[in-house]
Amino acid sequence: MEITSSSQQKNTGWSWHNPTLRGWFYQSFTIITVLFLVYYLGSNMIENLRLMGLPFGFDFLTSTASFDIGWTIIDYRPDMNYWRVYLVGISNTLILSFLIIVFATVLGFLMGVVRLSKHPLVAILARAYIEIFRNIPLLIQIIFWFVVVFLELPKPKNSFTLGESVFLNNRGLYTPELLTNSPVLMVLLLTVAVWLLYWLLPSRLKPQQSQLKSPSEPEAKSQAVLATTGLKWLGYGLMLYVVFLIFSDDFSWQNPQRGRFNIEGGLFLPAAFCAALIAMTVYRSVTIAEMVRAGILSVDQGQKNAAQAIGFTRWQTLKLILIPQSARSIIPPLINAWLTIVKESSLAVAIGFPELVSLFMQTSLNQTGRAIEVVMMVMAFYVVTSLLISGLMNQLNKRMQIKER
């Protein structure tokens, strides 16, 4: 009794042994240190800016950029302002990382499955691919693809060609471009693309699957089947319609043409873009392949044996038993890999592809000298993108986990 009272006394008084008090002390100490640091850095910054005659502010965003950008998705002219440059950088970064994500995921799944092949030679080939591309720094790979592969291609005059509609030379890749004047058709095309994506989704993610699960309600089941069939035919119809439209007058393919010195027209993908795309796709596909392999191996061996016992082929076992169950353990690291891809796409700056870091942190920063504002804006983009992607994907992940029960 005496002991508890004394210890209580010890722990509540104004003493170092009082944990609550000590906690407050630590926290206020941290806050004061951080505040002091902020004050110190801030006062230095103000002093430095005053000495250089540079005011702090984002007003430079409205001034004319007056430099040209080699490749843009959205419209850009040198007489546009720095805010436009920022948007151009963001759109270029996003399109590059989106393509890498798509290709790397597909290639990664493929290599992950191939890596598990029972055929020793195939497994060795997959392992060699993984080990080689995993252990060489990405930047070296990017520069290698750019300098050794793409810059060594023939000059535009004697470029490789595929039926005079696709050209490949040391400036990049030229493909036919789909031109249209009608925005309605673009929307239709997008609809079909979304529908195709839906069609490609694993069936367990689709709503009708959960309805089919309750055989006790034949009414609901037949409705679900009807809905699915209807959707399917609607999709085919849409697809037919679009194919018809593409060959009609509203759509036209613009083929690249051989000009006097260069290839003109069509869709142009510069060599830096192609090199960055290939290098990063290969590099990340290796990481994704390892995730897929680990995910498939993490499924209980009994599942595979059971599937084979009831006569599933190896392919069916993989598609219907192993991959759906491994999805739960693959998705969280896969999201991480996608986030990494968005961040890593900034490495394209090394070969001069005009993405956000190159356009804003190099060119614009050098021209305006507004280091603090520029760095803050670029970092803000990456932070927001990361938070958005991880937030969305965590929702998807949660849904998948709950479905388990």
Binding site: N44, L125, N135, I136, L138, V148, I372
Partner: protein
């Protein structure tokens, strides 16, 4: 024939030899057939992969070995000897630069010495019979960097770094002596008294080293002249060395019950992890000078080291957090019931166990830091990649891109593959011991 007719006549029961169980091939030929030609698809795959291997490897061997040129004065000569082979002659000329950067030729022994000392110092950690591993490890962490910077930077030094240098020299000598002793087959006594017996020789060696270094005048070498593989390794090592303490503090902060410390740690970790390293490097080079007082002259290498350390520290924090979570709650509770306070619990109970579990992860993050280090070439530090790129600007070896890139890719592959195999080995060992 005669035998079989005899058998039928005599009606003796002769069992036929048992068939081998399915799936077991006893001869190598059968094994070959089972693994590579069991079905039409399998046979097709075998042929296709072999052909693919041939397609990939034969031009490579042809280019890199058979048609390669090993000695020539410049690229034109290379070209005249063999137009479509590798020109390794350029690499031979530039090899020194690729390894040491623009470090003066006469002073390169200092880098070699530091490297040898590092190997000698770190070796006991991997030798299972060596006693006092913690001591060796901690001294490697705290004393070795001072020793290395003393040698690598050169120039005049204050008395503190001179003393550290002397202590470090004595330690290297003692550790090497112990290793030789071990190699000779004599056991080492892991007791405290054996360590105490070493104190007089250690003191003597320290005094001797101090006296020697007094007359040793090292030419100062500015960090702008550092480069090549040497600089890459320096940046990666410093980053991982600083990342561990930063990571531990951040991870402890993230698990702390004090809200201010917890949320500050979370903010820092998540902010750093959501931006690319290259932006952090640009920030260090372009933005940091604004935040420093005007009188401070910033060294570019120092700026980069700070940036890379903080960056890998944030990633390390997540590794450490994983390690801490793997330690059962009972350990903490047991320590607290013995009356240990927070720091005692962490330092003596939780962290040693967590760090042991984390060793494979630390090796993996060292690999990724080493690979990420190539990014400093973008902001103009002469690391191994920029050195290799600069080689193509040399008038004598103009546009010689492929060979240096292949060389440094090979160097990185050997380093990273070796370390990743080592980390796998460690992981397996840890699994066995648990």
């Amino acid at each position: 024939m005669t035998q079989s007719s005899k058998q039928t006549q005599l009606k003796i029961f002769l069992p036929i030899t048992a068939r081998p169980p399915p799936g077991v091939a006893d001869t190598w030929l059968a094994r070959l057939r089972q693994q590579y030609f069991s079905s039409a698809l399998s046979a097709a795959l075998t042929v296709a992969t072999l052909f693919l291997f041939y397609l990939l490897i034969s031009p490579l061997v042809d280019w890199a070995i058979i048609k390669a040129v090993w000695s020539a004065a410049d690229r034109r000569e290379c070209y005249s000897i063999s137009p479509d082979g590798a020109c390794w002659a350029g690499i031979v000329h530039w090899f020194n630069n690729i390894i040491y950067g623009r470090y003066p030729d006469l002073e390169q022994w200092r880098i070699n010495l530091v490297f040898i000392a590092l190997v000698a110092w770190a070796w006991p950690i991997f030798v299972s019979r060596f006693p006092h591993k913690t001591l060796v490890f901690l001294s490697l962490w705290f004393i070795f960097p001072l020793f290395a910077s003393y040698l690598l930077l050169g120039g005049t030094h204050n008395i503190v770094s001179q003393i550290f240098f002397a202590v470090a020299c004595a330690m290297v000598i003692i550790i090497v002596a112990c290793l030789v002793w071990l190699l000779l087959g004599r056991g080492l006594n892991p007791s405290h008294s054996s360590l105490m017996r070493l104190r007089l020789p250690a003191l003597g060696l320290t005094v001797l080293a101090f006296a020697c270094q007094y007359y040793l005048v090292l030419v100062p070498v500015e960090t702008t002249r550092w480069g090549g593989l040497f600089l890459t390794l320096v940046i990666a090592s410093v980053a991982i060395m600083m990342a561990l303490p930063i990571g531990i503090l951040l991870a402890l902060g993230r698990r702390s019950s004090l809200p201010v410390i917890k949320y500050l740690s979370i903010t820092f970790i998540e902010l750093v992890r959501s931006v690319p390293l290259i932006t952090v490097l640009f920030m260090a080079v372009t933005m940091l000078p604004f935040f420093m007082p005007n009188s401070v002259e910033l060294d570019k290498l120092a700026q980069v080291l700070v940036a890379v350390s903080l960056f890998s520290g944030a990633y390390m924090a997540e590794n450490v957090r994983g390690g801490l979570q793997a330690i059962a709650q009972g350990q903490t509770e047991a320590a607290q019931s013995l009356g240990m306070n927070y720091w005692q619990t962490m330092l003596f109970i939780v962290l040693p166990q967590a760090l042991r579990l984390m060793i494979p992860n630390i090796v993996t993050s060292f690999i990724s830091t080493l690979k990420d280090t190539t990014l400093v070439s973008i902001i103009g530090l002469f690391d191994i990649l920029l050195m290799a790129k600069n080689m193509a600007l040399d008038k004598k070896w103009l546009d010689l891109h492929t060979e240096p890139l292949v060389l440094i890719a090979t160097i990185f592959f050997v380093l990273c593959y070796g370390m990743s195999q080592y980390s796998l080995h460690l992981e397996r060992k840890l699994q066995w011991s648990h």
